[in-house]
Every structure is written in structure tokens, then in C-alpha cells.
């Protein structure tokens, strides 16, 4: 177990080094942030002062080495735009993104698995067919369009929910979250639903496929023949066995919900990390882009670790020492 975790962490380190190199070179290749940041009527001397103060007049390898030596001391650099440590900018936005991701995943799992089970167990009923048709819509309609339609319907036409923004926050266990207030929860519903729809459809389809495959296997028939109640057959024998692929997908999707909620956060003006990263990319704020991707890589590594540990709980045949990252 601990060998497994240590090996995982070493692999992650390599990923982080490669990623930081790529991002550094990539952002450098796109263009010069000073052209965008500096007022258009600034003089050439002013431009040169800004370039020097950001260290952009140095060769790229020197800029990278400076970044690495700072990073080893826990300093990921200061944002060009905000003049704040990049990491603190990101951590400021993290709670908003996490609560959105958690609620969205809860919706996706909470609706997706029961609906998938239903569609798998009763594939030929009207309900089963409707669920499957709905899930196709769920992941074929573009995310931004879904978001705008949700706003049009629930905020503009019906007026039930607020259109954009994060509501007031309160404290739960010392964490600032909008889940603590009524208004905050109302603000969460639409963006979380927008983020959840795609994942929900995916989970419905995976669950249904798993059920359709498993329900005809001998051990299920045997369990029925033994006279077990239907709930127990489905809830324990069937459910545990279809969960492996579903858990994998939930893990992967959870990571991507945190990292790439960019579209949803932009449409709903949600003050999370996704909005920060897209704004930073637009103005080539390299310290924030690099720090953000580092944080995201760490989150992905952590989530995948948890998924691997969950496998061994769900399926005793999986031994962690053999699992390759």
C-alpha cells in the first residue's frame, strides 16, 4: 500500500516537471503579456520598465530556473495582473469551484445511477426509453447553449432562480460556502445543473450498460432462485459489480469538473478557478497559468489515488501493488 502511494507520488513529480516546462514554453510562444497589460498610450520606456520588472527581458531558460528555484521554496510567483501571489489567488477561488463541483457531482450521481438502474432493469418501458433519449440530449447539446437555455427558462421566463453569480456565503465547519445560505443555494442550482447534465448522462449510460450485461449472469439468476428479495439482488449483488467502471468515470469526471468548469463559470459569472484561468490565459498571466495547472495536476493525482483505493474496496480481486498509474 505505502509502496504504491510512494511510487505514485514519484510519477506525479515527473508529470509536474514536464507540465511546467511545456506551459512555460507555450505561454512564451503565444506572445508578450506586456503588449496587453500596458496602457496603449504608454511610452516605449514605460514598456521596457514593465518588461524588466516582470523579468521578461531575461532569456527563457533563466526565467524558468528562477521559477523553479522560487517554486522549491514554496513561491510560485506573483500574478502580473493582480500583483498577488499566484497561489493565493487560486486558493481564494478554490472554495467556489469546489462547492460547485461537489454539488454537480452529487446531482450527477444522485440522479444518474437511479435513472441508469431503472433504464437498465426496464429497458423496454416508456420511462426507460425516455431516460435513454434524454441522456443522448444531455451529452450532445453544447454546454454553453444548455447554460444559456437554463438561464432563459428558469431565470428570465419563470423567474424562479437567480441568473448569475454566487450568492451570499456562510460558514459550515469554518469553511466559507454558499451552501450555508438559502440564497446561496438558489444561486448554485443552475450552474451545478449545467455542469451535472453531461456527467449525469454519462453515468446513466454506463450504469444501464452495466446492468444490461450483468442482469443475465448466472449469479444473479442464482440469487433470485435462492429467493432473495429483489431489492437485495439489485442493491448488493448487481450494484457492487457494475460500480467499477462507474467509479472510474466519476473520479475522472470529478477532476475535470474542478479543472475545466470554465464554460459554466463564464456563463454563470461564477467566481471560481475556471473563470480565473480563462481570464489569465486571455492576458497571458503566466505565473497564474503555471500555478493553476500545478494545482490541477495535484488534484487529478489525488482523485485518481482515491479511485484506485476505492477499487480495492469494491473488488477484492484488485491488488494495489499491481495497479499501474
Amino acid at each position: 500500500m505505502s509502496v504504491f502511494i510512494v511510487r505514485r507520488l514519484l510519477q506525479s513529480l515527473l508529470v509536474i516537471v514536464v507540465m511546467s516546462l511545456l506551459v512555460f514554453a507555450g505561454v512564451y510562444a503565444i506572445g508578450n503579456p506586456v503588449e496587453i497589460l500596458v496602457a496603449p498610450d504608454a511610452t516605449q520606456l514605460e514598456r521596457e520598465r514593465v518588461i524588466a520588472s516582470f523579468g521578461l527581458d531575461r532569456p527563457l531558460w533563466e526565467q524558468y530556473l528562477r521559477f523553479v528555484s522560487g517554486a522549491l521554496q514554496g513561491d510560485l510567483g506573483r500574478s502580473f495582473v493582480f500583483n498577488q501571489p499566484a497561489i493565493s489567488l487560486i486558493l481564494q477561488r478554490l472554495p467556489a469551484t469546489m462547492e460547485l463541483a461537489l454539488v454537480a457531482m452529487a446531482m450527477a450521481v444522485g440522479f444518474g445511477i437511479p435513472l441508469g438502474l431503472w433504464a437498465g432493469l426496464r429497458p423496454d418501458t416508456i420511462a426507460g426509453r425516455t431516460i435513454m433519449a434524454g441522456s443522448i440530449l444531455g451529452f450532445s447539446l453544447p454546454n454553453f447553449w444548455q447554460g444559456l437555455m437554463l438561464i432563459m427558462l428558469f431565470a428570465v421566463i419563470l423567474g424562479w432562480l437567480p441568473s448569475t453569480g454566487r450568492g451570499p456565503t456562510g460558514e459550515i465547519f469554518g469553511i466559507e460556502t454558499s451552501l450555508a445560505t438559502h440564497q446561496g443555494r438558489a444561486h448554485l442550482v443552475l450552474p451545478a445543473l449545467n455542469l451535472a447534465l453531461f456527467k449525469m448522462s454519462l453515468i446513466i449510460r454506463l450504469t444501464r450498460a452495466g446492468v444490461r450485461e450483468t442482469v443475465h449472469l448466472d449469479y444473479i439468476k442464482f440469487a433470485r432462485a435462492k429467493g432473495l428479495r429483489t431489492n437485495r439482488v439489485i442493491g448488493v449483488h448487481l450494484f457492487k459489480n457494475i460500480m467499477i467502471p462507474v467509479v472510474t468515470i466519476i473520479g475522472l469526471e470529478f477532476g475535470s469538473v474542478i479543472a475545466f468548469a470554465v464554460v459554466t463559470e463564464t456563463i454563470f459569472a461564477w467566481p471560481g478557478m475556471g473563470k480565473l484561468i480563462i481570464d489569465s490565459i486571455n492576458v497571458l498571466d503566466r505565473p497564474v497559468i503555471v500555478a493553476y495547472l500545478l494545482v490541477i495536476v495535484l488534484i487529478f493525482i489525488f482523485v485518481n489515488l482515491v479511485v484506485d483505493l476505492l477499487y480495492s474496496v469494491l473488488d477484492p480481486r484488485v491488488r494495489l501493488q499491481e495497479a499501474k498509474a
Partner: protein
Amino acid sequence: MSSWLLRATAAAVVVTGLASGAQAAELRIALSSEPTAIDPHFHNLSPNNQISLHIFDPLVKQDEQQNLMPGLAVSWEPLDELTWEFRLREGVTWHDGEPFTAADVAFTLERAPDVPNSPSSFAAYINQITGVEIVDDYTIRLTTDTPFPLMATNLSTFGIIAAHVAGDATTEDFNAGTAAIGTGPYKFVEFVPGDRIVLEANPDYWDGAEPWDRVIFRPISSSASRVAALLSGDVDVIEEVPTADIAQLRENEQLTVASAASNRVIYLHIDSDRDETPHITAKDGSAIENPLKDQRVREALSIAINRDAIVERVMEGIAVAAGQLLPNGFQGTSDNLPPPAYDPERAQALLEEAGYGDGFRVTLHGPNDRYINDADVAQAVAQMWSRIGLDVSLDTMPRSVYFGRASALEFSTMLVGWGAGTGETSSPLVNLLATYDRDRGRGTANRGRFSNAEMDALLDEALATVDDAARNALLAEASEVAMREVGLIPLHFEVSSWGLRNGLDYVGRADQYTLAMGVRPSE
């Protein structure tokens, strides 16, 4: 789950009800882009400057048309060619109750050009000042090495901060509010990046208290979401209404639309300097001498453009065709420069005369995320040029790539915009058309490297003329020379639009700022 949803919905309804009861006092404004800091001197950027104007008064204010008005200074006059005296307003207090004096002005002039790590400072507006003399608490004299007629204009671009709280304050101290003590009509309450900026009225404001007890700014960068937030009543005012939605908002009885011609001209810069230019070849692809060096070719490119069609079709009527650098009526504009008439026959004749009767191959470059409908405008221009016999390709790109390449002179013809922050014609003349000179700060954004000695001389003379009327006449003359030589091709002036819920009025501003001070309940 469903009962939770119901409760959330009920809560939303209750809150909306409460909000409408309190609308007389609270104003919610959706911004298209948010400020990067509350520090008024950290970043010279429109979203920062407009928030700063609520909290910090400048010495000199600009009205909706960017005419100068007294702010913290009640009057100003040149004592001689090199000295300006500003009389300050007496009886003004900071938000913490301390009195405002000349020492605060002196402190601001020292700090503003030199904020650590500033990505774009106010140095260009202040550096000419070489001496600051406090005569008494309410009189201050500023001296310069050369005559500096734009002193008051430049001092209208940034707010005055309090020496007693901002002594060694950092940008973070301003964001946290500890140093965000101004004399402005609103007091700072909180800044939650990405989410909101909250201000409350300053009841002791020297120009009378504001009608809004509380103002909440919310950044909503997606324009469709901004419109939806207005339609659903979540905000009272939005800025930058997309042109495609303006007609629909005008028809909606719950809403009104305010608009104003802005100080931003959209123009084409053309490489009129190099012998060979990177994106122009003969039609067979072989290298040719840069045809844009010939004034006749530049004029042909200008009159080949149907500006009225661009305004009507591409901009949906929300723009004004341009023949010079600022709309008529701004200081230093000329009355003799109407938009060039569309005349493709004469354009072809001019090309013929210049020896390019068969046309040439050219690539027009432009940004696709910077100005209103920028890529569509560039496409329209490309089509119009191809009608006079040129082979035109179009290349648009995000601004993060575009402006760096444009400044590195990688393009031959390019679509750009210029907003004159000072509201008078010397700003575009100095930056876009004056001969490039790194050390004098001339022609910094002259990406076509246009150079004309006659215009440079007129501009130099204007910039040393303290008398407003005489200076403006010289600037108008310089504009006429630059337009005659087609130093650049002006297309149109952007018109900015604001959407408001019924019952509110906004006086649109030429500087495109969205200010709570301009939003008033309708009579």
C-alpha cells in the same frame, strides 16, 4: 431533493421581493470586465479607472463629453509658461473624517508614477512635472521643464489618495480596504475578486450625497449572460450591450437603452514606411515594392471602403462613420473632415495612376476579441478591397497574440482601435501618427510608421501652446494633414450602449465608463 429545490426557489422569490422593495436605495451594475485592483494607481486600465472614480476624486473631473470640470481643484491657471497653480477645494474631508489638503496632492503625485510591479502606470501623465510646491493648505504649484498645456487634462486621469492612510500602503492594502479611503461620492465596502465590489454612499460628499445607499458591481464577462441578468431583474444596469441585442432590448417595455458616441476610433493602420512589406506581393506571389508608400494607393484603399454599409450592416447602426480621429465636437477636431465618400471607380483610377492597375495581393490582419464586432468589420473591409481588384486574404486572431505581433511590425495592414483617454486630439496624433521616437515617447503605437514632417511640426507647436483655442486649431490642422496623407484609414467611432431597467436613466459617456454617479431615477 425536490423539497430542497422548492425551498431554494421560495427563498429566491422572497429575496427578489425584498430587493424590489429596496430598489430606491440599492443599485446593481453588471460590468463586462472587472478591475484588477482597487488601488487607483496600480493599473491604468478602464475597469480600474471607472471604479476608482467612485472612491477617489481626481483634481480635475471629466464630464460625459470629457470636458474638464473642477474636482478637488476649484480652479487652475498657468502662472507662466512653466508653472501651473491649482486652487484646492476647502472643507473636503476624507471618508475617515480627516481634512483634505495640498499635502495629499503632493503625496499622490509622488506615489502614482511609481507603484511596485505596476503592469501599466500613470507615469506618462505625471513625469513632465519636475517641481511640486505647496504654497498653503489649499494652493499647490506644479512646475515643468518645457511648456505643458495638457497639465489639467493629465491630472484628470487619476484619483487623489490620502497621505495619512496610504503612507506606505501596498496594492493589497487598497484591495482589503484599509487604504481605500478617498474623498469620492462612494465609500469602499468590499472587493471579492470575480464576484462583486460593494460601495456605499458618502453622506458628506462635497457635491451632495448620491441617491444610491449601496452600489454593487458584478463582473459578468459573457455578454449573453449579462443581458439575461438584466432581463431577469438580477441587475439594474449592464454595460456593453451586444449590438445584436440592442433592438430587442429597445422593444422591451421593462427596459431602456442608453448610448453615446465614444472616443474610440476603429481604424486601419497601413505600413507606409518600409520598402518591402511582409504581407503584400504581386498577384503571382512575387515580391514587389511596398505600394502603400504611395499616398494614392492609401487613398484608394480608404475610398474603396463603404463606411455607411459597415455602420448599417455590420454594426447594426450602432456606430458613427469616421473621417478623423475623434468625433466632431471633441477638442482639436476639424470641421473639414467628413467621412471619405465611397467611390470604387475613383479608387480603381487612383490604383491605375499609381501603377497598380492590376492590383496586388494583401493580407489584412485584425483581432477577434477586442473591439465591437472586430472580425466582422475586418471581413467587410477585405470584401470591399477585393471589389477594386485586389487579392485580399483575412487573418484574425485573439488579442493576446495579435497586439504583440502588430507592435513587432509583422503586419502590412491591420485593424486597430484607439480610445483617446484625454478626450482631445493630441492623444491619437502623438501615439498613432507622430514619427516614431522611442526616447521622446512619440509614435509609440504608430504601427504603420507613418511619418510626415509637416504634421510633426504642427503637433510640436500645438503641444507647446498653452492657449486652448490656438492649440485646438493647430491640432485640427495637424489632423487635416494626416488625413490628407492617409496616415491611417479611420473607419468608424464605436457607440457604447448601456441597458437599464425601466425607471433609471444613464447619461452615456464618451470614455465608455459605467459610473453609478451617472445613473439616476427617471423623473
